[in-house]
């Protein structure tokens, strides 16, 4: 069966609408922010004092807080210039992370030969199609911020900063632009290769002779390898792409923490997309039993996320070592609402909404919980990046919403394009019958 035009049409419509809206907004916003920052940086170098003062008085009119910052006017201006970059980066990372989380979930389903989930394989494959473009965009933004931008996201990319910073100098064996780019390319290549071959074998299995299971076996084998590769690269990716925005700070369970976040967001998107497609009549074979299991994962991994979040927080809070605890002090002082808000959205909401077995079987309930979870995890990424780049000059305004719409549109477009290219039922998969008959 081929997915009808409706799904694709919807994908096009949504993405076009948001593209237009967003390109407009974003271009305006980026030019404004970028131009401002550039002008500022250029002016600041030749005549340091006069311009910094001028900027300072300008800042005072605009912001009430500026008197605390008169010494750091440049710093603040830099933070303001960072905002569109960071907004773009957060949104790009968020959608990339959804695709990566779904890829990991998909790989686990294949490796464990789960019987309940094969009906959802094509939905998952559709979502993972965004991984390659999404990850390339993230890497390009990161590298661009250090080359054409003014080190707007990663300050360790600035040779000037490194020259005056013993701690970053000690880490420069890992944190350098060349290594960053090469590692990024290796991560993306590994993920994309697995995704490509898993999809290829999955479709080849559909067209295989009855009884021919070679493609299934091949997919199983590469999946086992991928999972090993993934857990190492995911961890390093989270150090590179997120943790290094605070180059002095480190946390040993950061990789797991980011993984929990991407895993739960990915599972939530699987649930939302399946419900949407089912409501359009394309997934007649998916019933509330499958939904129930996906919602169980949403519930369980939300709690897993909280566990990791709290483990990281409590140890640092308890030991109270200055170089570690600054991370949370910034977040609690300057980001009180998003910081605690996300715990409510990512823990309390799913805990209470999805605890009841009957609620997990109601699509509208899962959609509601899912939207809260997704918003919560966007804020989670926001909290990881923003405090290091823009400090207390944060706000969820046009640059942030614009970036979310831009990448959301691109995400929907790529995912629906991919969904329309193959049958929505991986009918050759050996465990398909079990999955179709699955009941709770």
């Amino acid at each position: 069966m081929i997915l009808g035009a409706l799904g694709v049409g919807y994908g096009f419509m949504t993405s076009h609408k948001s593209f237009e809206e967003v390109e407009h907004l974003l271009a305006e916003e980026s030019h404004h922010g970028g131009g401002h920052g550039e002008a500022n940086a250029h002016h600041a170098t030749p005549s340091h004092d006069t311009h910094a003062k001028a900027e300072g008085s300008h800042g005072e009119e605009a912001h009430a807080h500026v008197d605390e910052h008169t010494k750091h006017v440049e710093h603040v201006q830099h933070q303001i210039a960072n905002r569109p970059w960071s907004a773009l980066y957060v949104a790009a990372f968020f959608f990339m992370m959804i695709a990566l989380g779904v890829l990991a979930f998909y790989a686990i389903q294949i490796a464990s030969q789960a019987g309940w989930s094969p009906v959802l394989f094509r939905v998952m494959e559709g979502i993972t199609a965004y991984l390659l473009p999404g990850a390339i965009i993230v890497l390009l933004i990161a590298i661009a911020s250090g080359t054409i931008g003014h080190y707007n996201i990663f300050i360790w990319m600035d040779p000037d900063v490194v020259a005056h910073d013993k701690l970053i100098q000690g880490k420069s064996g890992w944190l350098n632009l060349g290594g960053f780019a090469i590692r990024g390319i290796i991560f993306i290549a590994g993920w994309a290769l697995y995704r490509h071959f898993a999809r290829k074998f999955s479709i080849a299995q559909d067209n295989a002779e009855p009884g021919d299971k070679t493609n299934f076996k091949k997919a199983f084998r590469i999946t086992a390898g991928f999972l090993v590769f993934f857990i190492y690269t995911e961890s390093m990716m989270s150090w590179d792409w997120i943790m290094s925005v605070d180059p002095h700070w480190f946390s040993t369970l950061f990789g797991w923490y980011v993984f929990a976040s991407m895993f739960v967001s990915g599972i939530t998107v699987i649930a939302l997309l399946s419900i949407y497609l089912k409501s359009r009549g394309y997934l007649a074979f998916v019933n509330e039993n499958h939904l129930h299991d996906v919602a169980k994962f949403m519930f369980g991994i939300s709690i897993f996320w909280t566990y990791l979040w709290f483990s990281q927080f409590m140890l640092i809070w308890y030991s109270n070592i200055p170089e570690e605890v600054t991370y949370f002090i910034t977040r609690i002082n300057d980001y009180r609402l998003p910081f605690f808000g996300m715990v409510v959205m990512n823990f309390v909401f799913p805990l209470l909404l999805l605890m009841n077995a009957d609620y997990k079987r109601m699509p509208w309930f899962v959609v509601m919980a899912g939207i809260v979870i997704l918003a919560g995890h966007y804020i989670d990424i926001f909290n990881m990046i923003m405090p290091a780049t823009v400090g207390d000059r944060w706000f969820i305004g046009i640059p942030e919403i614009g970036s979310v719409l831009l990448f959301g549109g691109l995400f929907i477009f790529v995912v629906f394009m991919s969904l329309s290219k193959a049958s929505l039922l991986a009918k050759g998969y050996p465990l398909m019958k079990e999955s179709e008959d699955f009941h709770y």
Binding site: F310, M314, W317, Y318, S319, N320, M355, N356, A357
Partner: protein, 176 residues
């Protein structure tokens, strides 16, 4: 008082048992009880039993555990013998809360699990030194036993049960 008669149909496979239960329900016989060596998934639904209420009790017990943990830690660590926790002598429960979360979590789970088990035992009328109720010791090993009330229709009932794949059918007097 007249002793009522029941039929004990014995099966040796849970899938056969499941289809037999559906058949017996479809023919509108009354299943008194089923004895199985292990929990059979979906059996309660096939028998038409009311959904379990253990989940809601688990939630309530969890809340009780959380409350107990909070009150206990507050008394021990804050009121009775104020402690300087992690070099932060705030002497306030809320400000020291992160240190107490593991205990709050553990007691929630502890209360929920233990009280659930106790509730389950009481509700199933099981307590220490109680003599076993199951009519055939083989149901603790590898056989499944379905007990069906007989109202003078044993012929039809036995042949129907034979049909469903029972390996043994016994007519038993059950004293009330």
């Amino acid at each position: 008082m007249e002793a009522s008669k029941v039929i004990h149909a014995i099966y040796n496979d849970d899938d056969i048992l499941m289809s037999a239960v559906k058949r017996v329900k479809a023919e509108r016989y009354h299943i008194e009880e089923i004895y199985t060596p292990f929990p059979v998934h979906g059996l309660d639904r096939a028998m038409g039993l009311a959904p379990t209420r253990i989940a809601i009790t688990a939630f309530i017990y969890g809340l009780i555990g959380l409350t107990v943990a909070t009150l206990m830690m507050n008394f021990i660590m804050i009121e009775d013998w104020p402690q300087n926790i992690g070099g932060k002598p705030s002497f306030s429960y809320l400000e020291n809360m992160p240190a107490f979360v593991p205990i709050m979590f553990e007691l929630t789970v502890f209360f929920s699990a233990h009280l659930m088990v106790i509730t389950f035992y009481l509700r199933s009328r099981m307590w220490p030194f109680k003599s076993a109720e199951n009519p055939d010791p083989r149901t603790t090993d590898d056989h499944f036993l379905m007990e069906i009330a007989v109202n003078g229709n044993e012929e039809a009932l036995s042949s129907m049960l034979k049909d469903t794949g029972a390996v043994e059918i016994n007519l038993v007097d059950k004293a009330h």
